[in-house]
Each structure stands twice: as C-alpha cells, then as structure tokens.
C-alpha cells in the first residue's frame, strides 16, 4: 500500500462536502433519529417500566441514554452499509478505470473509501453525542474530564472499526453487482436481521434463546455494548435489568469488531481483484 489512498480519501471528501443535499441529509439524519425515534420510544418505555423497582446501590440509567448508544450504532450502520454505493456508480460510469489502470494496488481504493466513510461516521457520532445532551441523553455521567476523554476515544475507535467493516462489506457488494437496484435489495435484506437481532434499541434478555445467541455475533450488538461500556459505565441498571460489563466484555467487542473488519477487508480485496476493466 502506498500513500495513494490519500488521493481516494481526498476525492471522496471533496464530493461529500460538494453535494449539499448529501451533506445536509447525513448531518440531519442522526438528529432525526434522536429527536423522533429516541424521544418517542423512551417516553413509552419509561412509562411501561416506571413500576419496576431498580436494583439498590446501582446507578439507574434512563432509556433514552441507554438507547443513545444504540442510535449511534444504527446511524453509522446505515450510512456505512450504503456507503459503498459510490463504488457501484464509479464502476458503472467507468470512473474506476483511471485508478485501476494506475500502478497503485487496489487496497488503496478500498482503504481510501473506508477512511472517508469513517470520517463521516465520526461526524455523525459527534452530532448525536452533542445534540443528545440537549434532550436529556446523559452520556459520561459523573465522569471527570480524563475519563470522559478516554471514553470518547474508546467510542470513536469502536465506531471506526465497525464502519470500516461495513464499508468493506458494502464495497464488496457494490463491485460485484451490476445494478443499483440489486444493491438496494441486498442491503435491505441484510439490514433486517442486523437491525432486529441486536440489543441496539432494547435489551435482548426477553428474546428466544436462539436469537439471543445469534445476537452475540451481531457486530451491531458488539458496537452498542462497547459504546455503553464507555458512555454509561461498567455497572448500571436500566428498565429493571442490571448490567455489568467486564473487561472481558469490552475486549470481546473490540476483538469481534476487528475480526469482522479484517474478514470484510479480505472479502473486498478478493472482489476487487476480480474486477475487469
């Protein structure tokens, strides 16, 4: 790999800021998630669960704060899952040809696009954390500045790895299929189980066992868990459930996501090396 991935990254970012509609919608999307979905859901959940006594001596977390972690995960999932579509259009309009004909290896394209997606995900994550404060999403409660900083770094690391994984997945599909419609339907199909078989928006305790088991391997669960560890602490209760995250859990999140991202990287490289021009 050479520094040529910077060229790919630069091009993606120039276009991100150039298309005002894309820019605007990607900035407004997290706010919408929080404002509509977050507030609506948390009000009804809080009402339903207000009767349940919380575990004594354990800090209680309201549902909006619990779900905030999930909203970050959902938001970056969707933007990265659809992020590879740019490659489909590049291929369709033979834009990729110029890059594929150059002496650089194809990993540069993949990494450049991946890093640009990561940057966009960071912007969205920051928006959710900041905007969330205004509507009562209490991340980093009782943390000192150092703890807060460490937690923010931790969250961004997890989000970064997660985003790369899904961008690589999305890129592999984009480079393989011929039509945008095909890509659309595959992505919709993929997002369903990811979305529902995870603890992003609600605890999985009440799921059937098989779904609970599957949810452990869902990158979305790994990310939501990881963000909660950093944002809410390692010991809290929400909706009557008591959660303890151990160091092993957070290590699992990291390793699981790294494994996912590396697997997807090899898949996307394999697909890219098959591209003919």
């Amino acid at each position: 790999m050479s520094l040529a991935f910077r060229a790919v990254y630069w091009r993606e970012m120039v276009k991100f800021f150039r298309f005002k509609s894309v820019l605007f919608s990607s900035l407004i999307q997290p706010v919408m998630w929080l404002a509509f979905f977050g507030l609506a859901m948390s009000k009804s959940f809080d009402k339903l669960t207000s009767m349940i006594p919380s575990t004594p001596g354990v800090p209680t977390v309201d549902y909006l704060t619990y779900m905030g972690a999930g909203i970050i995960a959902m938001d970056v999932l969707f933007s990265s899952l659809f992020g590879g579509t740019t490659l489909l259009f590049d291929k369709k309009f033979s834009l990729l040809k110029e890059t594929l004909a150059s002496p650089i290896s194809r990993i540069n394209i993949v990494v450049g696009v991946g890093l640009s997606g990561m940057t966009k995900a960071f912007i969205q994550t920051a928006i959710i954390i900041v905007f969330g404060r205004f509507i009562g999403m209490n991340f980093f409660k009782g943390y000192d500045p150092i703890q807060t900083l460490v937690s923010v770094v931790g969250i961004f690391l997890l989000v970064g790895i997660f985003t790369l994984g899904f961008l690589f997945l999305s890129g592999s599909i984009a480079i393989t299929v011929e039509q945008p419609e095909g890509m659309q339907s595959i992505l919709t199909l993929l997002s369903m189980p990811l979305f529902f078989i995870s603890n992003a928006l609600y605890p999985v305790d009440a799921f059937p066992e098989i779904l609970q088991f599957l949810s452990i391997f869902n990158p979305l669960t790994l990310l939501a868990d990881g963000i909660r560890y950093f944002a809410l602490g390692s010991n809290f209760s929400v909706m009557g459930g008591h959660y303890i995250y151990t160091t092993a859990d957070i290590a699992m999140s990291f390793l699981g996501l790294v494994f996912f991202a590396l697997t997807m990287l090899s898949v996307v490289l394999w697909r890219f090396n098959k591209v003919d021009i």
């Binding site: 040529a4 033979s94 834009l95 002496p103």
Partner: protein, 329 residues
Amino acid sequence: MTTNVIEVNNLEHKYGDLKAVDNISFTVKKGEIFSFLGPNGAGKSTVINILTTLRKIQKGEAKVNGYDVAKESKEVRKSIGIVFQMMCLDYEMTVFENLEYHGMIYSMAKEERRKRIDELIKLTELEAKRNVLAKDLSGGMKRRLELARGLMTRPAVLFLDEPTVGFDIQTRLRMWEYLRNVKKQGTTIFLTTHYMEEADQLSDRISIIDYGKIIVTGSALELKNQLGKDLIYLETSDNKAAADILRTLESVKGVNEDAKFLRVMLGVDVTHILPKIMDLIGQNGIEITTVNIKKPSMDDVFVHYTGHDLREGKPEEKHDESKTVEALR
C-alpha cells in the same frame, strides 16, 4: 540511434473461440506517432489493453519502455499515459481536481503536481475552465482534459484509443494540433483510429489492422506510393472484362473491382496512358460510362490492402479464407 519504445512479437489474443488479435508483431520508435488504423472490431482496443496491462497477455511478447507487460506491469504502468476509448472523468470534480487526483494517485509531489497542472492546462487551452466541473465542459474540452490527465506523469508513451471518435472536424483538427505539440515535446504516441484522415495527417507510421491482423505498415506516403503514381476510377458496361484486359498492360500495377467502379493503379503518369486504356477497352466492345482520375488517398490504400471499404463496413462476400474470424462473430 533510435530505440524502440514498444516492441510486440507474435501477439495473439482470444475471447473464447474468437481470435481478436492474430499473431501480430510491430515496433514503435521513440518520439514517433504510430497509428493503428482499422474498422470497429479489428482488435485495436484489445492490443491497447494488453500493452497498457489492463488485459493479461495470452500469447506472444510485448515490451513497453523496455519493460515486459507480463512480468513488469507495474513499471509499464508508471511509464505510460492512457486516454481510454470511453470517456472517464469524474464529472463532479473540476478540471484542476481531476488532474490533482491523477497526480496524487501517481504519488507526484505537491509542487511538481501543481507545476505540471499549470503546464497542461495551458497546453490544452483550458485556462478559463480550471475551476469548472468536468460535467460542464463541452465534449471536445472533456477529451482535452483527458489528454492533459494522460500526460500528467510525463509518460514515455501516451496511448490514445480513438481519441476523436464522434467529434466534428474542427474539434478533431484542434486535437491533432495538441497531439503534434505533445510529440514535439518528445512523447511517443500510440493511437488507434478508424478515421483515414487522422492516421494520414497525424502519424509518422501507420499499421492497417483488419480482423486482428496487421495487413501493412508504413508511412502514409510510402503506403500511398505503393499504389502507384495515379489512380483511374472507371465505370464500364462490363467491369469484369475490362479489368481482365487492363491487367495485361505493363504500366498497370493493379486493378481492384469495387461494386461499381474499377480502381486502376498506374506505374506511370496518367496523362500518357489514359488514351491507350480508353482505346483498348473500346476496341473490346466495352462502353466506358465514367472516368475519374485522382492521386491515391488513405481510403484507396485501405481498400487496396483489405479488399473492403472502411466506411461502408465489410461486405461479407469479399472475405477470403484467412478471414475466418468473421464467421465466429
């Protein structure tokens, strides 16, 4: 001393059963403009794609700038610039940004990049369009931008696959002017075209390619001279019989029978031989309806060597047994 920038030996390429490139060999000398002239489907793009390492070489040997396309593809890629047959610019980026991206991909240092961009924008007369999105350029300007991009890295060889296809004559003439300037600056150019004038006006040497084979190679002048000093176009009441008669004359180098015309190639000046030809044909009871005299052009060269007219496609009945490719299409 002249060195060969491109050397191709016994190159062959198949798509399934279709032999798109059939055992061709040629060399391109440093600093020259070399053209492949041939109709659509002749195999021109396939050869370009192999030389630019975009397509794996199947059989034969090819060297570009001294590097083997099979074993040293990375070095080959560093040595060349390409203008593809299909337009491929990033339409959502400006003229400057398209060039900047290309320079970055090839790891050019920033200062060098900027300097080169200025030079090329000047060469292709895009100064006023520097910060205009590529999608807002005219067709000719887009092609010029692609030319500029192909030259960004100061390549030893520039490949152009049908650079002016679909353009009006003014745009084409302008493109040729730019290409002559590029040549003056020392860049070797390999281009493909199916325009006679383009090959004729622009190239130092031309290979006529048809059905994957090189039929003949030479400068435009050499090729034309081989058809003799003058050409007579005759339309008669019995072309076939007239052709047979003319072939017996010593000063007639050759006769092509077209659908309507006889094309008579002469080894001597037309003014002395024409009366004799007219008489001879008349004596045999054949009526001459039209006579037309002209100097050989690239069109005539093409028809002479390939047996068909490039413009009118390829009439099926004119193929001999060596042109089996057509049957597979």
